[in-house]
Symmetry: D2
Subunit: 345 residues, 4 copies
């Protein structure tokens, strides 16, 4: 039995609490929040769970093996480092930290102490995203592009831009699904409210191969869109997370190239482009709650001393891109190299 | 009666011929194409219309007041200049020319000879785009962003990239609809076929105000998408050209800002963001064929010595952006300034 | 404070409990169910609420002013009658009873004892259905037709047909929205599983006017559909309950009749039919949880001695149609008159 | 070479003319219409084709082997009979005739003279409908239901109800796709315009097996819908004719029955119903123009003395149902038996 404490009972904390409560192998020991009224809610719903507004108390509690951190991102680093130093395994909300430097130090600390450090990239545990990874590994051929749109109205945040709030999802999915890691990023965007961070942004991700990725995020759209296109040389995927049942559609469409290029006037080699239009199919997807799967895996990793799918390095890679994109956005889309990305295991 | 010759009877020429045939005030005199079999088709369908494979003959024909040019873009400049120099009014397909320098010389030649020079930006004559302009002028408030997606499978072109083929539509619509002109452009993209131009591209357009524009074009998408979002401070538009009837949806949605900003910790001023979610409506749109409206207007402009909605300057502005975007794409999205844009009346 | 007991903690009971818990003016006294494990769940979630497996105990409890019955429909009559006879106000799940005779006796008992008898026609408390009623009352003109499709895969029931399971929703909505009550019903359908009730059915409802209504229900459809069309002489409504935001669309479309009919060959009078195609709009809808509104109203009605929107008579009318449709279905669609419908106040 | 005359150049005639013009093996000899201005249009477009307003002239013309009749339905019988008696093969628009008696006499006349009699059930030649037949023959298992919705605004007709105008399409598709023929029909509907035929109708078709079919047609709907659901024991089909590319979706969904029924209280046998939810796929469809395929087949049948897919008997079966449905509608849905349907080969 792994004893767990959840820190932060705001927007996402209740989901962690509910799921840990039902995760086999986990025992929910306590919930920590600075707000008394949030703790009162916990007490009513889970009378058997301890409540506290003192994080140090959580760290001292010998029943607590692991700490799940669901506070605002600015506090992730401090809380996670304290937990690791107290010998606790850590699951931290995304984005993992406020800077890549913080994230790197968290990874190093966990490695040094042989503790599990997991990042709550919830999407990578959904049936849809796991199916996409499967398809990218086997079926799509060479991956040509990854294009994602994640827009809706609100919820404006005051401390971080729409990149940190929405693009973080796409970056965590890409990190899991794509066979390659980006080498550079550029971003454009705009704040339409004086003194506030950007509410609309476009990210370009560059790779060493011909793969190209693009993310559009927007807090000020009249409609909600959650659509990703992945183009491959053999097949193409449309992932629409708002579809109630067929979230993933696989198209047997593409171009075919004539192997015997033609001489054509001045241009010596010109490929003949043909089109292939075959069936579409929507694979049946596992509909189990992603967070439940993730928490079981977190507990398993602690018990077996294994690495989670979304580990500290995955969290670090995502934060590094968020950071670089933020920098690029401030300079009208200057390309920012992601030098060390390949070295983050 | 304005005598008209159509030059080029390939993909688009037949639409020009069919519409000029039915345009009051126009008399379709002749069709010119280098391919005998295309001319034979004209003769069967329009026995009363002259056919010729000699452009000079068209220029010499005193019955011809105006020439409509629907050849590949590379030939536009040469043919249009000859026609203007022969004293003919000109309607030229989009993109107007292969370079902004060519386009500028066409504009100057037409101005010098007081001839009408129109560019076939067909979309600006649709009911949907005209309604958008109306809404942008009165109803949307400050325009925050213009975001367009125009993707589908094929038709790959060998001489120009997807920018010149697809983004030209969006740029011509933006030029007509938006209250401002861009001051710089950047573009990223990729060719996935060796030796061919880019088949996927993303354009960013920068303005002096907080307006931001973005265009995504792709020849290699599994689904066809034609969607534009325009966000304003008062209302927002979704324009989906594939919707059979409700192409334009106007959302009474947005944010409201508290005029009395709060002191909030270190941050001295922080606006309170509220959300407004009202009705949506889809205005009834004029469904008359855009090309028919455009050609009547072209004839009217010749008769009244007026300037068409999409004149040579509009064509020049669009070509200048295409050119700059192409340059930017080759340099991984370097921002290219559009210095003279504001001076193009 | 109105003391409430909820009887039946299966599929729907938890929603009643959760909402009564938060309804101002209501005090959730106890939950009754025959299954110990269901009661244990209640105790964990709501330690302050009494639990019992003895319905008589509920009836004897002087703190209980009202009983909400969420058991299988077969038990509604017996439990509700006992509750009424014990002087308790009653809210009963839909369908209100297994036969119209039972429903009528419940109505009479409640009237005799001046107790509130409400039926949980939840849909009539949604923002969408309330808006439809508003539009039908003012805006649609003469109502021509009401057409509803409610199909999906599962959940097959063994004791009642798809009519009692799905059409009950449409009939309760129609009862609330339409200005007229049906005078006859016919139904066709089929059971595709030996020994089981019909899993697909089509209902026709006849009215004295030219209004016509039709309901299609199906447990064996590959896709989920929840769509209602209401046609009027002035406007038409499309109600799609699966739309995340624009559930109600109002079309300013229809036909116009030439007041001056023409002589046309043998036919002496022939109206000229014209078409009107105006704007569409999607009104903003109240998104408050319907059940919460309904329970507040139930409590209000008890306090003020008023009649709820969906009272016993509404429940009776719906059950009478379900009963007649079931009879018709067994006779290949024979029309069954609903003689007394107009007399049910 | 088969010489063809087209009679009637109104709404559909031009499509026949255009397609016969391009059909290998066919020679378009003449077009006949009573309206001079329609003939003038033919002459302009097809100078090589004879025009005439005298049907007898067509019949006398030895170059004419086959006559295609695209006049109003009321005239089909008279014109087709004359053509058959003159020894001409006949292709007639749908509905084939105004009564089943007329249709039967046409079939008999053609049989007696060994002439090809084809009915223009265009839909059965589309890629989508041919694919559905394939799937019904192999893949769907037992067919449980066929449910079609065909609604839109307009075009009101004065001489026939919406059943003859719209349901004729569904009936011709069903006749081709389903493995069984209906034994009875009932219909309800309403005319909302005084003195005009019904503008909304619902048809039920009864079969000897557990198959059930239903058609909803409506001239007064605010949206256009063309959707058919076919449920089978193994798979289910959604056919949406308005989808630009994926018109046919095949769902591997359904119920599974436990072969070992349970004793359950009083009910001795109760099947356990399980649900199967597998992949969906959208097969690639042939996009060739249906009418072109149909006309080539008509010419082939004449040359090889074969029977077309939609022959006189198919046309007769459809007319018999239309006639019976019309009768049923007038009697509030009384079931009308289709006694002879099985005998129509």
């Amino acid at each position: 039995m792994i004893g767990v404490a959840v820190v932060g009972y705001g927007y996402w904390g209740p989901n962690l609490v509910r799921n840990f409560w039902e995760t086999p192998g986990a025992r929910l020991v306590s919930v920590c929040d600075l707000r008394k009224e949030r703790l009162a809610t916990v007490q009513t719903r889970y009378p058997a769970v301890d409540i506290t507004d003192d994080f140090e108390e959580v760290l001292r509690d010998p029943r607590v093996d692991a700490v799940a951190i669901a506070t605002p991102a600015a506090a992730h680093f401090k809380l996670a480092m304290k937990a690791l130093m107290a010998g606790k395994h850590v699951l931290v909300e995304k984005p993992m930290a406020a800077t890549s430097d913080e994230a790197r130090r968290m990874v190093e600390e966990a490695a040094r102490r042989r503790l599990v450090l997991a990042v709550d990239h919830t999407f990578v545990h959904t049936g849809a995203v796991r199916k996409m990874r499967e398809l990218v590994e086997d079926g799509l051929g060479d991956v040509y592009y990854y294009d994602s749109v994640r827009v809706n109205l609100g919820l404006f945040q005051h401390d971080v831009s729409v990149i940190w709030d929405l693009a973080v999802h796409d970056l965590s999915i890409m990190d899991y699904v794509l066979p390659e890691r980006p080498v550079a990023v550029s971003a454009t965007g705009m704040s339409h409210i004086a003194g506030e961070p950007a509410n609309i942004a476009y990210l370009n991700l560059f790779f060493e191969s011909k793969l190209i990725a693009h993310i559009h995020v927007n807090w000020l759209a009249p409609v909600k869109v959650r659509r990703t296109l992945i183009g491959g040389s053999s097949k193409m995927i449309l992932y629409d997370d708002l579809e109630p049942s067929e979230k993933i559609k696989v198209y047997d469409k593409g171009i075919t190239l004539n192997g015997n290029p033609q001489k054509n006037g001045e241009k010596v080699y010109q490929m003949l482009v043909g089109y292939r239009t075959g069936d579409m199919y929507a694979p049946h997807l596992d509909v189990a709650e992603a967070l439940g799967i993730e928490l079981r895996q977190f507990i398993d990793c602690i018990e077996r001393n294994e690495n989670p799918v979304a580990d500290g390095n995955a969290g670090l890679r995502v934060v590094r891109i968020l950071e670089a994109a933020t920098q690029s956005l401030a300079e009208r889309g200057r390309v920012v190299e992601l030098e060390h990305m390949r070295r983050i295991a």
